[in-house]
Subunit: 221 residues, 2 copies
């Protein structure tokens, strides 16, 4: 079984970082950018680096793009190029096309023309860092869906000395405790009789609403 | 105990997303941008929105910035403004200053002048999405510690039609199933009698070793 092959269009900061990470992980990576300088700089670090206009069907065909499993359109500012390239890739039958969007309108257009996954790097990082600053945790706030998240949290003062079964996190707070960390050691299935102490860190899964309520309690809002 | 107060300088996409996320979570958020239009657009969504040049000590003092717990410098392109603002904030004694960098040189300068945390949104998202494309999951591979991770995975062919209790994921694979997703709906505490089907996506926690073994089975590596 051969590994997946990736082709990346556009060498902005997002595109470069994506291309080099995939390449370092041992995957075949082709990059395409219309800027010759960008192509020369990345060439030593990827399988193929081609200077070309991505928004052109003949170019895409001549580069054999239809054989790739995953294409990533990492063109941001030039929205027309981003849209044209994404459309052509879907017309060529690429099974999975990821596209970077610079705004919500851009996102909606990409979705309409068939992009399989759309990334808004700046906006998504804004949300991540905000959640991270709020929870003050090492682990990020992980969104499982629009409804559920996993977070890491300290215990509430009133939980001290209680066992997990006494606390009834699911009944009372609508959350499940996935893991407990004490003194650097993680227990991924704490017993119901586990007694919570001040220094414990919990990893919990729950609805975003319940988690917000808990965090508000913890930070005294 | 009052909640943390945040001040954000620069309303690019990252800054806007950060400010509105913090604000929606119920925190006091002040934003500062030199562009009047950006300020007017965000004003309804934050506690205070002020049109001003951030890279000016008198301005920062007159805005009472020294009372904030966390300052985020979300100025990207204007590197001089980003550096000046970060320096002034540390001189004012803000305990935690987060700064956005647009390149690695920019990052090194911010570190030297005392930024407590530096974010490169485009580059970090590039790495995240690359890892995400490699593992083929929607959810990232989340490292809980050097020993344990949380991942999202499809089911192994031999799990089809089995209940969770029959499968005995903890006994056989050393993993716990935290959540099951079917048809877009997530169940964060599936019953032991839940029958696994081909289309299910599982969120599991386990040791890195066990997870690697499972992923190797799934991808036939
Ligand atoms: N039609 C095109 N064909 C090939 N490459 C293109 C085309 N249009 C734009 N590009 C390339 O896309 C790259 C990224 O473009 P741009 O600077 O707009 O991205 P960005 O979204 O600002 O990037 P960042 O990830 O740094 O935020 C540039 O190197 C540019 O040369
Ligand atoms: N000295 C300054 N004082 C206040 N605001 C400033 C200053 N310099 C720049 N800004 C503001 O910072 C904001 C973000 O700037 P810029 O467009 O460079 O960010 P960016 O990094 O490209 O953003 P994005 O997150 O969209 O990638 C702009 O709205 C700009 O008006
Ligand atoms: Ca090839
Ligand atoms: Ca205030
Ligand atoms: Ca930018
Ligand atoms: Ca950008």
């Amino acid at each position: 079984m051969r590994g997946k092959q990736f082709v990346i269009f556009g060498l902005g900061r997002f595109g470069i970082s994506l291309a080099t990470t995939l390449s370092e992980a041992g995957y075949e990576v082709m990059v395409v950018d219309k800027c010759e300088e960008s192509i020369q700089e990345i060439a030593p670090f990827v399988t193929h680096a081609v200077q070309a206009d991505a928004a052109d069907m003949d170019t895409l065909k001549s580069l054999g793009i239809r054989n790739f499993d995953v294409a990533i359109v990492a063109i941001g500012k030039d929205i027309q190029s981003s849209i044209m390239t994404t459309l052509l890739l879907k017309e060529l039958g690429i099974p999975y096309v990821v596209a970077k969007a610079s705004s919500e309108i851009h996102e909606r257009v990409l979705r309409k023309i068939g992009a399989d996954r759309i990334i808004l790097p700046e906006q998504e990082m804004g949300i991540r860092i905000a959640n991270n600053l709020i929870s003050g945790n090492i682990l990020d706030h992980i969104q499982l869906s629009s409804e559920y998240s996993i977070i890491e949290m300290g215990i509430l003062p009133e939980w001290r000395g209680k066992s997990i079964i006494e606390l009834d996190p699911r009944g009372v707070y609508g959350i499940n405790i996935i893991a407990v960390q004490r003194g650097g050691v993680i227990d991924i299935s704490p017993s119901p009789n586990y007694i919570l102490e001040q220094e414990d860190t919990l990893v919990v899964v729950g609805s975003n609403k319940q988690i917000q309520i808990l965090e508000a309690k913890r930070y005294g809002k």
